[in-house]
């Protein structure tokens, strides 16, 4: 969408670019390590580049890489990728009123390109969807400027990671940097006690169930954590929406 001059002309586009620039380094580092991880796991350069250009979802890519290397069935890979992307489903609910006036193609493009940081910056700047045409154009331009930075930083650094991967000795264990990026995203979601507990239960279950075939330990961990938290909600009579700062 940032190729459209009509959007780039809006002053909000530059604003979006400016505000995201400081975070670009973090996204770039994440992209770099993801590029390295793809190649190191045995994926070919073509596959790594294709994954970078098409999937554009760091957490999903990092979760799928070991599954691909192990030859897990397609449905497990796609189900795991979807589960790991579930926070975006929540984001999309919030973004819906901002985008519904657009035709489907346009809003799907915006949605696809809006990752974690862009969503956070956008909703912080615009707590309420626009009601006038001028405001709508401004909001759309801000979002586009914002994700222009994240998309570019991610793509450039990921491709660089793919190019440089073979220069990094495997003994350095740099793949751990990819894990750290997911630690950061997880911490951003650990906002209530029950959520922290959900994370701990899922993690423990995924470890305990590691021997399950088809790498089903991940979706098993999710299922157990969700069911246990439902039960805990009932036991303690917790009102989830009151607990939740959203």
């Amino acid at each position: 969408m940032f190729f459209l001059p009509s959007i780039r002309r809006e002053p909000e586009f530059r604003q979006g670019v400016r505000e995201m620039s400081s975070a670009a380094l973090g996204i770039g580092a994440w992209g770099l390590m993801t590029g390295v991880a793809m190649l190191k796991s045995g994926m070919s350069v073509f596959e790594s580049v294709a994954m970078t250009l098409l999937v554009y979802a760091g957490s999903s890519q990092l979760a799928a890489i070991p599954l691909l290397a192990a030859g897990a069935p397609l449905w497990v890979i796609l189900a795991t990728g979807f589960c790991v992307n579930l926070r975006f489903v929540v984001f999309s609910l919030h973004l819906r009123p901002y985008l519904m006036y657009m035709p489907r193609c346009r809003r799907l493009t915006h949605g696809y390109l809006t990752a974690d940081m862009s969503y956070a910056y956008f909703t912080r700047r615009y707590p309420v969807p626009a009601s006038t045409d001028a405001d709508r154009r401004a909001q759309e331009a801000y979002l586009t400027g914002n994700y222009f930075v994240t998309w570019s930083a991610w793509m450039v650094m990921s491709l660089l990671g793919i190019a440089l991967a073979n220069m990094i000795p495997p003994g350095w264990g740099l793949g751990f940097a990819g894990v750290l990026s997911l630690v950061a995203v997880s911490c951003s979601m650990a906002t209530t006690r029950l959520r922290i507990l959900a994370g701990l239960i899922a993690g423990a279950t995924a470890v305990a169930a590691f021997a399950l075939p088809l790498k089903l330990n991940i979706v098993t961990g999710i299922g157990v954590a969700v069911l246990l938290c439902f039960w805990l909600e009932k036991q303690f009579g917790l009102d989830v929406d009151a607990e939740d700062d959203k």
Binding site: L25, S92, E233
Partner: protein, 117 residues
């Protein structure tokens, strides 16, 4: 039946998985505005969305931190534990993905490379 991927070469099944994952990205990021008509999830699914996202990420990263060769680590002398802890502490103190990665690696690399943990 899927054959284990041959390192460094391209195979069609992996490409199919990649295309599938790209569709998954679109589906997840556009979930509630794909259709023109407003729609909502059943109540239980809506409640599940409070926990499922963080559960999913935890299920992916915890085995990466506390397991080796398919087994739970039996010693506390593992650089990943302290690296992850350092990263999380940084996140709650200063925030940001970059800081988390740098803090975590600053603790992980010396322990891993120098002490062999």
């Amino acid at each position: 039946m899927n054959l284990v991927h041959q390192a460094g070469s391209t195979d069609l099944w992996t490409v199919a998985a990649i295309i599938g994952l790209a569709c998954v990205t679109v589906l997840a990021r556009c979930f509630f505005f794909i259709f023109d008509r407003p729609w909502s999830l059943p109540e239980w699914a809506h409640r599940a969305l409070h926990y499922a996202p963080i559960a999913a990420l935890a299920a992916v990263i915890v085995p990466e931190i506390v397991m080796t060769q398919g087994h739970l680590i039996s010693t506390l002398r593992d650089a990943r534990l302290y690296g992850a802890l350092a990263g999380a502490v940084w996140y709650f103190w200063r925030g940001g993905v970059l800081g988390t990665m740098l803090a975590g690696m600053a603790v992980y690399l010396p322990l891993h490379l120098l002490l062999g943990w």
